[in-house]
Symmetry: D4
Subunit: 149 residues, 8 copies
């Protein structure tokens, strides 16, 4: 069985690459999914494909909906959803994804630094593992898939 | 992962072929589904296989139900449902499919010309992308699957 | 038990009033739901409440979404969804509602004149009763609720 | 029919009271739900009832889970979920609730000021109405419930 | 709490009346549902309301669908579905109802005489109680509702 | 895509073999499922594997439950459920399967001779095709899968 | 809104009465459900109503199924399921109920003494509150319903 | 079709290996899943990967949640869930898994010795087969998959 892992959240550090690399080194049977992580593409995909908008709200709206085709589909196909909260920005879409995945009954793994502990308590409470580093995420995945520490 | 795309609606222009061809050129990992698009077969399949009916209502009824075995099954298996509204006819089955797919939580892409904008506002409001051409549909699919503009 | 009946579709004739009146005369235990049937309110509710839009598409979009709060909620609460197709207009929202209700497993009653028989064959095939007049709709409701012809 | 409305998010301004008051003035048939909005109670409920924790993580964890009994139950019972994002704090639980409600198919109304427009684009894209003030929220509710502008 | 009990199957003996009467004597908090049990009405409701059919198949078809509005709605609302198999006829609709209720997760109580034991083994295997008389059905209902033998 | 077809009902004629053979000739992409059709095995599997029972009811009960592991699993995996009613016996398990499949939203094809038309009207009313011969069943499958008459 | 609370597990101490009494004192808007707690009735209900069995397995089987009509129905109707593990016996039905309620998405409150902490770790991990006394259970209920400590 | 079989419960005897070996000998098309059966790893996985806890409750809690990522995912993917109750320990997680699988509609096979018959009556009543040995489990699997005794 191939495990399907969705990596949601933070797009300004290379945590996804770290996880993908370590997963490859361990040869874990996983299929890794992610949102579009190129910031500019993600912001402009709607107007780029479907035509410009004068109003910034609709500019963003069109893009967010096109991105939702990808994110909703992939989250729904996943077994485990990992959500990373970085140091900066509001990252409401990360928390939205966590809530969405939680209501679908997906296994949630949350990753964040100690500074965000209190602010993320409701999100953490919905998770099956709260981690701090990509290494910890990979160790959890390796254990639950391989069954060995 | 192979994305499953259902192409519903209009059967009198070659929009499906255009999408299929461009998808092939781009080598997108998709499986494309469609209803029976041969008008005569679609109309007469019921009586042709299961016996003639004198009453036109039951003639149509038998055919519509046989076609439903195909359309419901394939829509339920799809990740994305594209619904095209052409220039002519009532096309209520297209709108029915859009409603059906929407209630199942499928990602909807609607395609229609500017003339139908007002009449399709409820359908468009349920969609994640409103497009005008097969090219735009393919660009949306390419972006959400490949993750690149 | 109170039966919940949603009356979808056509808003330019008084078919809803006829059904409501006859249901009252028969004293049937029903709660009747409907979309907003005032054409102008339905078209303009979005911009009227949430601010004007220059682009007609977004004008319509805002309104259609606000109306969807009402229609989706009430369709989901209904036991029976009656969809009436009138003589004029595209009425794609009626067919969309029929598809939406069908996917939710609601009992569908369709009402339309003989002219639309062929164009509505897929919608009729999903229905448990195809009727021509409000009187027939009420007779079906009365029979299934009271259990007497 | 009584509409059930859940008011999620911001707990440091009186937006809930404004909505409740206006709803009462309009005599709308609604039942209004909310999380515990007393900040200290919400933070300390876990340890206060179930025993102290030395580690802040588990202190918060216990409280967040007890609060989840209330929030999940009430969100699941609601027809409409209103989520307000205020000026301050991370408010990840608000975005989590929005994602949770969205996956359950609830009608979402989002409320926030113009500053947060870009950061909330994914959340707004999942909503059926994006509002700026309690007055707008009440106007939407009044319209979808009463059917009149 | 009011328990909702659907009484499916056999329409040629007075087993429903016996159950209803005993339930009333015991003052059990139940709401009892049933299909239309007047054989002629049940057979002819379709053509009587919606117009005659020359072909017996469609005559029956129209009626069966109209009856389904009642039976499906009430079975879905029920907590317990009691299905009685009598001495005569094929009673395939009774077995269909049992399968339908079983797939919906309803608690099934089956009632039949000893002669049908082998033929009903698959149906009995899906039941939580297999009974022989209305008295036994009522005793089961009384026990599970009141909690006393 | 491989279509999954479950063949339920009648086990005393070779209708399943006829369908399988014709499907092979046509090279249709289907996976065909069926219950255990060896009458003796089906009757005795419970006691044969899990120990004898003195009481015939429990003898049958054990077997029916073991068989249910197979039938429920395979029906749930199927896209289309074909149910054949033969000339003899009560065949309540066939009707039970039809009801079960119907509640799961599977596409139903019913097969029976003209004698059973009236007795099967409720079952037929839940079907998308009512057929008389294995040839007709295969023609329906070929059409809905291949899209050609 | 009335909260529905199911009290599962231990039947040899008076913890349910304590909870019911304190809930009454606090005048909490709850409806309290429970299994049959009379040990003899619970063991013998099957044979008492439906006829004696020689084999102890079937004696127990009949009773367990009749009891399941009550327990499954009430757990499915509940908002919160409280499961108490006492000092004695295997109490596998309590753990079964906890698993059943958990898969249905019910809010779980577990109650047990410190001795069982390690053995119940998987059950506790699925709960939103782990309590030691009826007083704690009531305090949790009071807080989540009233919103005040 | 590959059948997916989850083996839950007892981790101190080699019943899983026996089943796996016999299944291999018979060349049954099955994929076998299991929880982590190394007792120490299972107990300590949480703290080992995610950091030590002083409090034994949270030590266990962290581990139980990490294990739940594996067990919930694999149970949800399974067609048949086999639960073995051994001679020793409370084994509440086994009963929890049985309840969880039952609510998801999985086919349950229970395995236990005669001593536990009465204590497991509610669990057995939810099962489709109650077995005593790995040999019996394999015989049931072989029969339902191969269709031959």
């Amino acid at each position: 069985m191939n495990w399907k892992i969705y990596l949601s959240g933070e797009i300004h550090t290379n945590w996804r690459e770290e996880i993908e690399q370590q997963v490859k080194v361990l040869d874990l049977p996983v299929e890794i999914y992610a949102p579009v992580t190129d910031h500019a593409s993600s912001d402009d995909c709607g107007v780029s494909i479907l035509g410009a908008e004068e109003d910034k709200f609709w500019h963003d709206h069109k893009g967010a909906k096109v991105n939702a085709i990808r994110t909703r589909t992939l989250i729904e196909k996943s077994d485990v959803v990992v959500v990373c909260f970085g140091e900066k920005y509001k990252q409401w879409n990360a928390a939205f994804d966590a809530g969405y995945a939680s209501a679908l009954g997906k296994s949630l793994i949350i990753m964040h630094g100690p500074d965000h502990q209190h602010a993320l308590k409701e999100v953490d409470a919905a998770a099956l593992a709260v981690t701090r580093t990509p290494k910890e995420v990979v160790n959890v995945l390796s254990y639950v898939i391989r069954g060995e520490l």
